[in-house]
């Protein structure tokens, strides 16, 4: 089952802390979005494997854009 991880707010992708194929645990920090001078981390909602990363560092994202796809 695949799960899309969405951007919680509009901003710039400050860092991506995983690569395709990585296994991540629930609550691991996988992406950080910078907006309004603050850093908002995005955490894995469950254990899984990173199947696809759809953004790169520096990208502007809108709220609810898909950041990556997690296979669970």
């Amino acid at each position: 089952m695949d799960q899309d991880m969405l951007a919680p707010l509009a901003g710039h992708v400050l860092s991506i802390k995983c690569a395709v194929g990585d296994t991540v645990e629930e609550d691991a920090e996988v992406v950080v979005i910078e907006a309004l001078k603050m850093e908002t981390p995005v955490f894995a909602p469950c254990d899984g494997t990173v199947k696809e990363i759809r953004v790169k560092e520096g990208d502007h994202v809108e709220e609810d854009d898909v950041l990556l796809v997690l296979g669970t």
Binding site: A10, E25, E26, D27, E29, L36, M38, E39
Partner: protein, 577 residues
């Protein structure tokens, strides 16, 4: 009113395994800053003569006196690092805090007799004024441990005179007494001149047998004959005169116990003085806690040590404010005031040690689509917007109506700015909040959890803008500044950059200055710096924050000057609807 307070809404949740795993670095970083604070505190504790040296003289140190006097586990020190005029001894030479004595909360202050025999020193008057303010604001007895050799004479111009000088505490003592707040003084050692007035100005004087209090000391009595200059002949005369001077210093117990009766009691042992203070404190007027408690005291359901994982040291990192509050208040319960309105600010009722308090804090992170409602840009927690300001104005005013003390938990980067913000009346609403606080006569505590910045620091219970703030605490994550250093560097140098660029000159020198300014802001906003210069009254370990809240709530409800019956309160009913 049991249905309102015995079981309130649950707050927070346990940390998940992943959260614990990814926050190990934050725990280490916060504890590293706390180590720096500990090291600064240790310098204050060990300044001057050693404990052994003082004990060899048959005296206890001020630290030993406080330890003997105050009930274990209740001491909440304040102003430990305060040294605003940079004394090389790292202290203003008074040690103070809140603690329980004889079962009652009191404000305690004592001269550090290891340093110049407890002399007046630069910065000390302001320290004492802060302490007398705590006593007045919380309506708590003030207990002095007087042991003051008078002014440190080479530095007298820095503290003797002036509007907030070394004489000011004396009228503050009179002011406290006129408000019905007693001042008890245990008196030790030689207390001439300023020390004499420190001794006489309290309400009841408990003397150690070897102490004295006097208008002037033996040195002044034997040598005060100005001739315009000194020479060797005069110096030799002074030596002879001093050697001949055999009298006891003026104002010993023979005079002030046997003759004037200024000393109510005299004791042979230092500890007997402290025992007598304990006995008097046990008789101080105070309500039994059950009079005001709304529920049985309970610890938070989640460990306070979780705060090391919940609060990121990195100021740009967002976190969940409710997770913080859940680790500070009884049973991790609350009743929120106007949830959903003004989402950048939390307002609600919580219990601390069974006592009801109002809590106001900055939420962090994205505030959701369409907020603030007056602008086309997104809102983020830490900032203040129109609804949050209106909500705080309402909540503060209602807390005043119900006589509820307020705990402010600040982590704010400021008020929203720009033309939309002006049209939304934020300037007026901000000052309106200061007006609301000013007419809300209840004790307040401000905790600078992380950022205190811009006017938001003033109007969220910060000490520069209100007289109801009893004290302001900081943490290892605290930083206090008018704006972030990089923002300040841009504001200061951007026009210069434009000019230099237009003239074809290199930008590196200006950039260097910008970096220097940003670094200066960083250095001057660290917790130890802020405590040294009085922006914070104490830097408290995350694990000890709850102790201070318990002391604050207990102190506030010990003997309040104005009360609201629980069955007459409006705020809980407004929330319930």
């Amino acid at each position: 009113m049991r249905r309102y307070f015995e079981k309130m809404d649950d707050l927070g949740r346990e940390l998940r395994a992943g959260e614990i795993k990814r926050t190990d670095d934050n725990v280490a970083a916060l504890k590293e800053v706390e180590k720096e604070v500990d090291a600064a505190v240790e310098r204050v504790k060990t300044t001057g003569f050693s404990t052994e040296k003082i004990n060899e003289r048959g005296q206890m140190t001020v630290w030993q006196r406080i330890e003997y006097l105050v009930e274990p586990g209740t001491w909440c020190p304040l102003h430990t690092l305060y040294n605003p005029l940079d004394n090389p001894e790292d202290t203003t030479n008074v040690i103070d805090g809140i603690g329980k004595i004889g079962g009652k909360w009191a404000v305690v202050i004592g001269f550090d007799n290891k340093v110049f025999a407890g002399a007046w020193m630069p910065g000390q008057p302001d320290n004492i004024l802060r302490v007398t303010h705590v006593s007045r604001r919380l309506n708590l007895p003030l207990v002095w441990l007087v042991n003051c050799s008078g002014a440190k004479l080479p530095d007298q111009e820095k503290f003797y005179a002036n509007r907030r000088g070394a004489g000011t505490p004396f009228y503050r003592h009179a002011e406290l007494e006129q408000l019905g707040i007693p001042i008890l003084a245990g008196i030790y050692g030689t207390n001439p001149a300023g020390g004499g007035y420190q001794g006489i100005s309290p309400t009841i004087l408990f003397a150690h047998k070897n102490c004295n209090i006097a208008v002037g000391g033996a040195g002044i009595v034997s040598g005060m004959a100005p001739k315009g200059h000194f020479d060797v002949e005069t110096a030799k005369g002074l030596i002879d005169k001093a050697k001949e001077f055999k009298d006891e210093p003026p104002g010993t117990v023979k005079t002030h116990y046997d003759e004037t009766g200024f000393f109510r009691y005299v004791f042979d042992e230092e500890t007997e003085v402290l025992d007598a203070l304990k006995e008097y404190m046990s008789e101080m007027p105070a309500y039994h806690p059950r009079f005001f408690r709304v529920a049985e005291p309970k610890p938070p359901r989640y460990p306070v040590d979780d705060l090391y994982r919940v609060v990121p040291l990195e100021p740009k990192r967002v976190y969940d404010f409710e997770q913080v509050l859940a680790r500070l208040v009884d049973d991790s319960e609350h009743t929120e005031f106007r949830p959903g309105y003004g989402p950048e600010v939390y307002t609600g009722l919580c219990k601390i040690d069974g006592f009801l308090v109002g809590v106001i804090g900055n939420r962090q992170g994205y505030l959701g689509k369409g907020y603030p409602e007056y602008a086309d840009y997104p809102g983020i927690g830490g900032k203040l917007y129109r609804q949050g300001l209106i909500k705080m104005n309402e909540f503060v005013t209602l807390c005043g109506r119900d006589r509820l003390p307020i705990v402010w938990i600040q982590d704010t980067s400021g008020i929203d700015v720009g033309e939309a913000a002006e049209k939304a009346e934020l300037l007026g609403l901000g000052q309106g909040l200061i007006y609301s606080i000013q007419q809300t006569d209840v004790p307040m505590l401000c905790l600078v959890l992380r950022k205190a910045s811009a006017a938001a620091h003033y109007l969220m219970g910060g000490p520069p803008a209100n007289r109801h703030n009893a004290f302001t605490l900081g943490t290892a994550a605290s930083e206090v500044y008018v704006m972030h250093g990089e923002t300040a560097a841009v504001a200061t140098y951007v026009r210069r950059l434009i000019k230099e660029d237009a003239a074809g000159r290199p930008l590196e020198p200006v950039v260097e200055q910008m970096n220097e300014l940003a670094q200066q802001y960083h250095d001057h906003s660290r917790p130890v710096y802020c405590a040294r210069y009085g922006m914070l009254d104490e830097v408290v370990k995350m694990s000890e924050l709850r102790n201070y809240l318990v002391a604050f709530a207990g102190a506030v409800y010990q003997n309040p000057t104005s009360i609201c019956p629980q069955n007459h309160m409006v705020l809980p009913r407004l929330i319930k609807g």
